[in-house]
Amino acid sequence: MADPMKIRAQLKGDVTEIRVLMGHPMETGQRKDAAGATVPAHFIQSMTVDVGGKRVVDGQIATAVSRNPVFGFKVKGAKVGDKVVVSWVDNKGDKRTDEAAVA
């Protein structure tokens, strides 16, 4: 099972700042390992962010996003305690969903 994400959602004024750290190798498919074999592409392809049950961000991702990706978003209209749910699916079909509350 993939690593749990670290999600931070902080309400500042009327804007909630969301920061997500995902654990994923994000292999480009161009790297060669110590033995000289090409490491196949393995990367997060799509991700979504839901706040308070509503889809706020729908993202499509490619290999040029760094290993252990970090994304930031801002949302209006959320309140303290609202659930922030982040999901991702990678090119192999692996997936991960984690949640945090707006603080």
Binding site: S46, D50, F73, V75, G77
Partner: protein, 156 residues
Amino acid sequence: MNTTRRTVLKGATASGVLAGLIAAGALRPTQVMAAEWNKAAFEAKDMAGALKGLGAGSPADSKDLILKAPDIAENGAVVPVDVVSNIPKTTSIAILVEKNPLPLCASFEFANGALAEASARLKMGQTSLVKAVAKADGKFYTAQKEVKVTVGGCGG
């Protein structure tokens, strides 16, 4: 459940129908498919191809699209980029790196109170222009910045 989803997505115009189903509890939000991965755009090997894949053609420069990135990235493996669109009715933002083997890095769609703003960390193989493309009210806009890279992000 699956049949319902397929039928709905085939025929539905709208968020109206989906919203209704979600409200009725028939479709949980996380079950609604995320947008299909744009292969044509993500696998384009040059900027022109990527823009074409996004349907952006020749986007107009806009000073209301703000791209923040370091002047010099200490390491091309993790270049922090932040894009803010102050263009009204922005629905999506895409981020590209001109000299990467595959320029399109990510694209985000916003809804339901999300600000048209996104930050991400990108791999840059060499010093290059970083480009943001925003879609607002059906039209495309762009902003760019050159980022110098001191160590290649693709394994250098």
